[in-house]
């Protein structure tokens, strides 16, 4: 049922029989380590991100378990309370640093983005395949520095590395920040690659208003990656220089300013949360349309809002610093702009719900994750409103309320979308189907566990429970216990997802080329795709979600 024409190939099913898939095309470890095939690179990223998510997740379970008791739970066998607290501080820091730098920032763009972008554009690869490989190697090297940091003197600064604590503590700050510096270049080069590919390598007929919204999301993400990451790169270098030779720009005894570090740091770290969420918005648009067989409601608004969020997102960094000592005027401007960026985000959520109207919705595993995303991201987004309001933020800043908010958007949002998207494109990537029932069980467990883990944190945060606390006042214990129980349920759900994926690779039934009957270009080629993606060059004659029209024309027998 193709409605696009592929030159020199036949109609209908692409002839995959003659040419092997990208997985089988070349063999041996070296053919993976030195591949320039964007699909293999995407798969390697997927595996790496999965590995670091496992490590970061185990650390999270460590944090939650240690917090079952107000005085702590000595699961690592510390010799005395001081050592115990030091170890707790290291566990939460490493959890954050690994999750931010090695998991969430690369997550969708590096794995699914790499795999799908050229396919959705009808291209043979990204614009700079060797640069793409370099991005992956750089990611690998950056991760080695992080691992070294963990194994040598660990890290206890929080993932934010605020000065002067980070310039004076004895843990492996230099190794970790240098690792983050290197990882930044992996991110920049991926973004650069994507922008050029989208501009220059779209298939004939694929105009900007026919691009899948995943592409718009990845494009906006890439712009942020290219422009914001260098700022944190140089900031971390300056931090390293401060620690080694004491250059003084963050050191008040030499005339410098520790708050300057915060400004430089958050100038990147706020836009980076949009790097984390925009690709998730993109996959949600693609999935919700495919599984409800409907065109997206408000395509232009969703595409434009991605660009708007990317732009305005550069202007709001000071909302992390309302109580840091910056001027009230600055705080006011940042608060105003923070509310401005909420509007395009809200538009997306309304548009997705409206997309369901008049649809034909199949309750597949990916769709379960789409619903979960809408539920969880709505809570995450709405709770951001408290934090953007100046007077309320004074009370909530640096409490568990903030922790709950960002987990709802980053995990409830991005990560649930990511897992759903992995299920949605799994047949395309690996040519296998997965166990639908187990996948849904996993979603249910993860969703339930997630809410129990983090909703209780909103409450205790509002009641004054500060974050990054190894020990706490007894009145908060019930919330902590509920949260920890939730985290175990969440872990069970996530491990179930992992099992579903591994089981599929080993025993999954062969997938058809287009199990969802979707109409964007990646579904026009084999599952898994051949090495060069398409036989010949696709020509696009319709939009990415033109289900109603395509179904209609097929019903009346036209092509």
């Amino acid at each position: 049922m193709t409605a696009s024409t592929i030159e020199t190939a036949g109609h209908g099913e692409a002839h995959g029989a003659e040419e092997p898939s990208y997985l089988a095309a070349k063999k041996g470890l070296m053919s993976w380590i030195f591949t320039v095939d964007h699909k293999r690179i995407g798969v390697m990223y997927l595996a790496s991100i999965g590995l670091f998510f496992l490590i970061g997740g185990l650390l999270a379970l460590g944090v939650r378990t240690m917090l079952l008791n107000p005085e702590g739970v000595n699961i690592f066998g510390a010799d005395n309370p001081a050592q115990y607290k030091d170890w707790y501080n290291q566990v939460f820091t490493l959890h954050g640093a690994i999750m931010v730098f090695l998991v969430i920032v690369p997550s969708i763009p590096a794995s699914l983005g790499n795999f799908l972008l050229p396919l959705q554009l009808g291209a043979k690869d990204v614009a700079f395949p060797k640069l793409n490989l370099a991005s992956f190697h750089i990611y690998f090297v950056g991760s080695l520095f992080m691992i070294y940091a963990i194994l040598s003197h660990s890290l206890d600064t929080g993932w934010t590395f605020y000065t002067p604590y980070s310039t004076t503590t004895s843990t492996s700050v230099i190794a970790a920040t240098f690792g983050a510096f290197i990882l930044g270049f992996s991110s920049i080069f991926t973004g650069l690659n994507f922008i050029v590919t989208v501009h220059k390598m779209r298939a004939p007929g694929l105009t900007w208003d026919r691009l899948p919204l995943l592409i718009w999301g990845l494009y906006a993400t890439s712009v942020i990656q290219v422009l914001a990451t260098p700022v944190v790169a140089i900031t971390l270098l300056l931090l390293i220089l401060e620690r080694t030779i004491g250059i003084g720009i963050f050191d008040p005894t030499l005339g410098g300013d520790p708050v300057l570090y915060q400004h430089f740091f958050w100038f990147y770290s706020h836009p980076v949360v949009y790097v984390m969420i925009l690709p998730a918005f993109g996959v949600i648009s693609d999935m919700i349309t495919a599984h409800s067989r409907k065109a997206i409601f408000g395509y232009k608004a969703i595409a434009a809002s991605s660009v708007a969020i990317a732009f305005i997102g550069f202007l709001v960094w000071g909302h992390h610093m309302f109580v840091s000592g910056q001027s009230p005027i600055a705080a006011t401007v940042f608060s105003f702009l923070t509310f401005a960026v909420a509007v395009p985000t809200a538009i997306k959520v309304f548009s997705w719900v409206a997309t369901l109207y008049g649809g034909s919705i199949k309750f597949t595993a990916p769709m379960w994750y789409v619903y979960a995303f809408l539920f969880l991201f709505t809570i995450g987004g709405l709770t951001g409103i408290y934090l953007g309001a100046l007077s309320v933020d004074v009370h909530l800043h640096d409490t568990y309320f903030v922790v709950a908010h960002f987990h709802y958007v980053m995990m409830g949002g991005t990560f649930f979308a990511f897992i759903g998207a992995i299920h949605h494109w799994w047949p395309k990537m690996f040519g296998k189907m997965y166990n639908e029932t187990l996948a849904k069980v996993a979603c249910f467990l993860s969703f339930t566990g997630f809410n129990l883990t983090f909703f209780s944190q909103f409450i205790m945060g509002a009641q004054g429970m500060p974050r990054r606390y190894a020990t706490y006042a007894a009145e908060f214990q019930a919330y902590h216990v509920a949260s920890t129980i939730g985290s175990y349920i969440l872990a069970a759900g996530l491990f179930t997802s992992l099992f579903v994926m591994i089981h599929s690779l080993l025993k999954g039934e062969k997938a058809p080329q287009n199990p969802w009957n979707a109409v964007s270009l990646e579904w026009e080629t084999t599952s898994p795709p051949i090495e060069h993606n398409f036989h010949g060059t696709p020509v696009v004659t319709h939009g990415p979600y033109d289900f109603p029209e395509i179904d209609e024309s097929q019903a009346t027998g036209h092509h």
Binding site: D125, M201, L227, P230, T235, I245, L254, G255, L260, G536
Partner: protein, 220 residues
């Protein structure tokens, strides 16, 4: 049906990369890629420029007095050297566009020589600072009297010129690579993207210096 039928041209450059449709797409993509890379370089330097402006505003008397310790004549010389090297780089690109192989090699060689001159001058400048203890932050040990926060002035000076210098070194390495390729006759009117794009990079390196020089050496 391989992709023989796909080629809209025949006899393409040996440097054509087959994931592109044609050389035009390849050249256009390479150029956009370089512009994006330059954009992120600008952001990379921008943090130091922000630090410069913040500390200059906080300690104006420091800036006024400390900058006299810099040798404006040497800085001026470096400015001229880099500007000239941008000219020779542009001429090298032009030479490739008109298939003038010998001219390419000569112009690239002169560009590299200018870059070395720049670094040698910087070496002497740095040595002189080190000798007097005019160093960043905690390393500062100058015996004379500069008001305010001279440690920060020299932090800004060394960070900005140091980062710039690293980019000059990287430029030299890439220019050598170009020189070798030009010598082998790789570049011609049908294929000169690498020359053009390295040229863009080199012009940015020059441009950054043109901002650094007055900001650091010519404070009023």
């Amino acid at each position: 049906m391989g992709h023989a039928a796909d080629h809209a041209h025949s006899g393409h450059s040996p440097f054509f990369q087959h994931h592109f449709i044609d050389m035009r797409q390849q050249a256009s993509s390479a150029k956009l890629g370089m512009w994006l890379f330059l954009a992120q370089e600008v952001l990379f330097f921008s943090v130091l420029f922000m630090a410069y402006f913040i500390f200059r505003t906080l300690y104006p008397e420091t800036w006024l007095v400390a900058h006299y310790k810099l040798d404006a004549a040497l800085g001026g010389l470096n400015t001229v050297v880099l500007l000239f090297s941008s000219l020779t780089m542009a001429l090298a690109v032009r030479a490739a566009q008109v298939n003038a192989k010998k001219q390419q090699v000569i112009m690239l060689a002169v560009t590299i020589a200018c870059a070395f001159v720049f670094l040698v001058v910087k070496y002497f400048e740095y040595m002189s600072k080190i000798g007097k203890g005019l160093l960043p932050g905690n390393l500062y040990s100058y015996s004379g009297d500069i008001p305010g926060a001279p440690e920060l002035f020299f932090t800004v000076y060394f960070c900005m010129t140091g980062l710039h210098g690293i980019h000059v070194v990287a430029g030299i390495i890439v220019l050598f690579w170009l020189l070798i390729r030009a010598g082998k006759g790789h570049f011609n009117s049908g294929y000169y993207s690498p020359m053009e794009n390295v040229g863009l990079y080199w012009h940015l390196v020059d441009l950054v210096w043109i901002f650094l020089f007055p900001l650091l050496y010519l404070v009023k």
